[in-house]
Symmetry: D2
Subunit: 347 residues, 4 copies
């Protein structure tokens, strides 16, 4: 952190700031320029220190020079984090495909979808038992019954399962049924939930909040990591902009950016990212080309009968088409699709 003094700040003001820094356990390193005086702050700083220093007499501006996130940064850990779930490796040279319905509706719907996506080469099954819903008058998920259905689909197909947990109280319950815990976009800054999943031994997928900067996203990852859980993966699912044709604006550039800033795996979710089924395939391809470690895709036996997010779900045919075309893109960026390769080998 650097303190830039106002033009004409007095020697007394400068001395006061050095004193103040010392009281707070920092060392101030003075540099008197022609126009202005600048004080470097040495020590472990934090974002709010900026606010405090900015108010001191004579101070013009405070400039943070180190990134506030630590454990998720490449500086902290240069090597990629690789998370292993039931034989699937996320964050290495695989390009992992997570597929399934937005919400768990019935056992039949989930089993049918699980079999289909497995047959087409998906690596992991998704499905929501607890559903965040903008309106209190809409379907909000089957809760534990939904978790049980996911459990049966895992048993039958052998696919690992990911599902969302919405509140600290449910973390243990969801851990009993799910291989990966998902923290949804609306909960990216539900700090008590982050604390709770940080204490469990299950991998966590942290979706980006719809108005979250990349820095805030990595700080939320730091919450989980600093709780002791080092198995964190990230998922870009679109941010909110002024554009109204699409449900969100999928920030594809966040994928290579996060790969540069952090060692954590990053996936792309073109279903929520666009909200339109006909944009899912091109945006899935874009995400893979940009370096995503995986994709999360909504698939439904009959999207037009879905209780939730039908307009962004693929039919089985559309998903098969996506899987058949994405391999070439993955290969051209040096990625293997393990589930798909097994399927093709078996044909």
């Amino acid at each position: 952190m650097i303190v830039i003094m106002k033009k004409g700040s007095s020697g007394q003001e400068i001395a006061d700031i050095l004193d103040r820094l010392a009281q707070m356990g920092f060392t101030g390193h003075l540099s008197q320029g022609v126009e202005r005086t600048v004080i470097g702050v040495v020590g472990q700083t934090y974002p709010d220190l900026k606010d405090t220093l900015e108010l001191l007499p004579g101070v013009d501006e405070i400039v943070p020079i180190s990134k506030p996130y630590k454990l998720s940064s490449r500086e902290f850990q240069p090597a990629d984090t690789v998370i292993e779930v039931g034989g699937v490796r996320i964050g290495g040279d695989q390009m992992v495909v997570i597929a399934g319905p937005c919400a768990v509706e019935t056992e039949e719907q989930v089993l049918e979808t699980a079999r289909a996506v497995k047959r087409m080469g998906a690596d992991i099954l998704r499905g929501g038992a607890f559903k965040p819903s903008t309106s209190p008058y809409q379907f909000r998920g089957l809760g534990e019954d939904g978790l049980k259905i996911l459990g049966r689909a895992r048993e039958e197909t052998g696919l690992p399962v990911i599902t969302e947990v919405m509140t600290p109280r449910d973390v243990d319950l969801v851990c009993r049924y799910s291989d990966i815990l998902q923290v949804g976009a609306r909960n990216m800054q539900n700090f008590m939930l982050l604390d709770e999943v940080g204490k469990c031994d299950r991998p966590v997928m942290l979706k980006r909040g719809m108005a979250a900067t990349v820095q805030e996203w990595l700080l939320s990852a730091d919450y989980i990591l600093s709780g002791g859980n080092r198995q964190v993966m990230l998922c870009e699912r679109g941010i909110r902009t002024f554009e109204t044709y699409t449900r969100n604006t999928m920030d594809v550039s966040a994928i290579p950016l996060v790969k540069r800033l952090s060692h954590l795996p990053v996936l792309g979710d073109p279903s929520h990212g666009t909200g339109k089924w006909y944009l899912v395939q091109p945006m899935a391809m874009a995400a893979v080309a940009a370096g995503a470690d995986g994709l999360m895709i909504e698939v439904h036996p009959t999207p037009d009968a879905a209780l939730k997010d039908g307009s962004q779900s693929l039919t089985f045919d559309n998903f098969e088409q996506l899987m058949s075309q994405i391999g070439a893109i993955a290969a051209s960026v040096g990625r293997r699709m393990v589930g798909r390769a097994q399927v093709e080998a078996g044909r």
Copy 2:
């Protein structure tokens, strides 16, 4: 909801949609225009129905015609909701001032501030015991110890207290100490928290999420209202835009807009809304001029020593100046400032 068919959609497609609507319990009302056919959907619709219908063959577009929020709407309840808390009436002709530190730090800090803001005419005391913090490495509040300090300040000054609750598990605890529960911006769509505060008998202040539309905000209010708690007030605290000089962009227009759409009281928080202490007074005045039912202002004995959000906190002197100038604005829009009037009468 209106279903607009594609140009040239077939009679069979139209018949299928009417059938489908009937299966779902709706009545479809057909209107064949020169260019297109339009089907009105009669019955209690919900936002996701749009997604479902959009996928049916022959459908071009779905247009919702009724607002998805119900209990918070003026159509549901034409008369203003007025909430009474310890003699303060929020939502009537009073212009209520809530003031206090961002975070509870020490008993001395809170008591000193409580006495000062009471002396200057504030109606309610604010202070955070549970603090949402972007970084896990920052101050996150004193928890129950902080609540106890607020309790003592209430006892001494007689000011009702408002404080934030961040997770369902803490609702009972916070209810024991606080007159009003605050749901913060980051939790506006923490639906399980909304459910929980909807079940208690304490008034709730629901802050607008930083990327929430007004419609989503009112839907979140509907979560609380439909749980049975009818004492909900709203607070505009700035939305996230591309502007970087200010911390947020305070959407003052949301105040008169919400007053038109809803019967719930609306307050303005220029401290979070701008993030700059020197913008707090002009924006407080703007909020009152635009029709706010109240203000929420951060005040700190020594903002430059604050553990949180010092840069947006007013000193006692600045708060006194604000209070002395805001009365004329309030009067010119027909509002009484009860706390301030008592102070002035006592002088």
Copy 3:
């Protein structure tokens, strides 16, 4: 500008940067901290220098410390700029009201409106002869015929006139008919137009672009000021956000912020700022309370028959109501409404 070197940058890299700065005519002032080396750059820097320096080996980050706008800044000119137009003083203690139709449609429409707004106390008449229109299939203004109509309205009522100029070629033409030139939001970064109005002797109102930061806005003002035209006033008219109820989000906080950063007058346009006639009055009041030097209000004899922007225009009755209520707000922030006072004195 400050150059922050990477941890572990070499002495050679540092020496190279100092050399490079010297070649470009700057002085580099070195400061070696414990963790990092920082180089202060002394001399007249510019925004793109950041890009250049960022690429040099060993550099971690470049931090601009002085504001890139000069002539519009309070540092350059501490005293408020006051612009006099036909006896109206903009930027001093007056609160100026500009009113009139969005577009000039007919002589009758303009004359009727001009008489009405004058009768109700407006200081300046607005009306568009050249209209920026999102669609090529809509009304785009009467051009010179429209300017002539404005000229007649000025002659009859004595009100000074403001109208928009859209392209350099039309600047001379518009100067012949208009007292103030308006540069619209879509042209805030039409740099050749800024150059051209910078060379003329007519006051210019520069509206904020709908995605422009305050800094970019002031840089655009600098274009005009550096051309030699010192009579520049600014107008906040709403920025683009994700909110869809309102046409734009009027950034009221930009008003006090710009008053702090700059000496130029700032007005508020609640008509474009909200796009809804029923929000115009509360937001006009908010703008005045926040310190605006004036208001720009769309008024139309029959808004529902307007060729452009009828939904944000006030009827004569609504405008009279606004004028009758805004005086108290203006007075409470120490502003005089000269036109309105004359009207009231004459009654």
Copy 4:
């Protein structure tokens, strides 16, 4: 357009609206539902009609049902527009690469770059002679001297040239030197410039404005098309969001979306789209994977000495790497890279 009446609107109000529509040349088609009455408006409507109708007594909401852009829509022209420039075909099965420096600085810089990008397989040369610059104190381009340099580069290398035109007055001049006219993001709604380039016989590349919706972008294309110039291509170059790590947020989804809504070719500009040279290659790959008809890439012999936008420019080595890797992606979406193929054939 559909007029939705308020609940309980009177027969007289409905009759009045039908009359009003008839006066304006429209036919109103009435449909009386159980809850509400809906009137379909038949005839060629336009966006502002919405504003007008919204104000009529008894009206609740106006819903546009046809898209306001016409000539650029797929409905108007189902087949892809293909633009031929000096043997390069944009909009067909080629994936075209436009490369060169942001700004023309010296003859040597341009020639050296032109030779390099040709050698690596670029199809078209870019370079700015007129540069929009946020600050009046920065480099603004060499003007006609710059155009002459581009002319020499075209002569020597045979590459067609694209360069920006900023104002109507310069259209003829730029046409003398350039094969394609570029309308920059800041001028996407400079309607008089759109009119002017609509009258010339040179292909036009229309960049998306940084706060422009896709619909507004296509309406701006309609300006050019309706002027008679049917050779319009679009270029996505990033929109403005709250994210600050990147200069803009490149909206990759706009590429497949526009390909669906319109017959015009769409390119991607990852240099402006991200503002960071290290994100250019992954985002170029993403754009191609998502279906872009071409790429626009900034290349500079020595980015750290560039007068403009060095931080987003590739070195020759980086550009060669991009070209060597992008071919596989292009092939996997069925695109040929003609310039690159010739280079590889010649090796």
